[in-house]
């Protein structure tokens, strides 16, 4: 068995359950190229529907945070309340604010 033979690329699969919804991570597939990755993703992850759109992305193309990035990278939500609507007072009776 040739060593090379079994090295298909890993692709992450994202499926959109209906139009307007966000694409969600469904899992991964092994494939040699994009068209095959898309077809394999359809056969593996879209059998039960509902799926209206599929994205496949080579896993090594994904640039991600690491654990430990959390502190510096993500603002703790509870110390910047000015980003939330409830922080602001609006007089009673005023509509559409």
């Amino acid at each position: 068995m040739a060593e090379m033979e079994n090295c298909m690329r890993l692709w992450e699969v994202f499926v959109q359950p209906r139009t307007g919804a966000p694409h969600e991570h469904a899992g991964s597939v092994r494939a040699t190229h994009a068209e095959m990755a898309l077809q394999h993703a359809r056969d593996v992850y879209a059998r039960r529907g509902p799926v209206v759109s599929i994205w496949v992305v080579p896993t090594d193309a994904i640039y991600a945070t690491r654990p430990g990035d959390e502190g510096p990278f993500f603002d703790p939500a509870d110390n910047k309340p000015y980003r939330h609507p409830l922080f602001y007072k609006v007089p009673h009776g005023v509509k559409n604010i």
Binding site: M8, V29, R30, A31, E35, M36, Q39, H40, R42, D43, V44, R47
Partner: protein
């Protein structure tokens, strides 16, 4: 027209025709299902099972309709499991053993190209129940065509070995493609009634589409043989069908009348 308004004189021909379409789907689906657990890698094993399930679904719909047209109370299962080989109306192309992956994919490609043209035309069938089945089947066969075409390219333009296997498969299968476009008296009756399309008229388009993909796949279009296989539509099959049915029908034959 539907079952109620169908002209009684057309029933026998329509019944035969639905057997032709249903048996094609059934036998092809059966051959594809043989791959389950034996595919070249996991993702493709799953893909082949999907193709098989699609075909079996078409078979169930078409054979159920056939039974209703016949009007003798036969169900899709009765037709699938209790007819002998000479009563089957599939083309010989679909009953050939699955062979290697190149053989299966090439056969699927040749058949799917035909089936897309067939179901596209059948969407206009004057017989509404058939038009309905065709519309659904077309969607699925379009995926079969996309999948098998991509594989034709991969195999034809992959390695020397895959190219050789694909060409061999193509050369072997070519003589079975003529049968897909035969027009006999049964079909002529239905063409006149605008229930079925004129398959002979669709053959040039089939050829054009097939040749386009084969070119991309760097494969050579085989010469037309002096003799195209024929007989399936009349119940004259290869020796392979008998063995296939012996396996497929075993339980129903061994335990007559039992429910499963």
């Amino acid at each position: 027209m539907n079952l109620e308004t169908l002209d009684a004189a057309l029933r026998p021909a329509l019944f035969e025709y639905l057997l032709c379409l249903g048996d094609d789907a059934l036998i092809l689906g059966h051959r594809l299902s043989e791959w389950c657990g034996h595919g070249p890698y996991l993702e493709e094993d799953i893909a082949l099972a999907n193709l098989a399930l699609d075909c079996l679904g078409h078979a169930e719909a078409l054979l159920t309709l056939a039974g209703e047209v016949e009007g003798k109370g036969r169900t899709a299962d009765d037709l699938a499991f209790l007819r002998d080989a000479y009563d089957f109306r599939n083309v010989q192309l679909v009953e050939l053993p699955r062979g290697d992956f190149a053989f299966t994919i090439t056969r699927q490609f040749l058949f799917a190209t035909y089936a897309c043209l067939l179901y596209e035309a059948l969407q206009q069938s004057a017989f509404e129940p058939l038009a309905g089945i065709a519309a659904k089947a077309l969607k699925e066969m379009r995926y079969h065509l996309r999948h098998s075409s991509e594989w034709m390219r991969c195999l034809g333009d992959g390695t020397e070995e895959s190219h050789r296997r694909a060409q061999t498969a193509l050369d072997e299968l070519w003589m079975y493609t003529g049968e897909l476009f035969e027009v006999d008296d049964t079909l002529r009756t239905l063409i006149e009634a605008r229930i079925a399309p004129d398959m002979a008229a669709l053959q040039p388009k089939w050829r054009e589409q097939v040749e386009a993909v084969l070119r991309e796949a760097t494969l050579t279009v085989p010469e037309d043989p002096p003799y195209m296989a024929t007989g399936g539509r009349r119940g004259h099959h290869t020796e392979h069908l008998g063995h296939l049915l012996a396996e497929m029908q075993f339980l129903q034959r061994a335990y007559p009348g039992a429910q499963w």
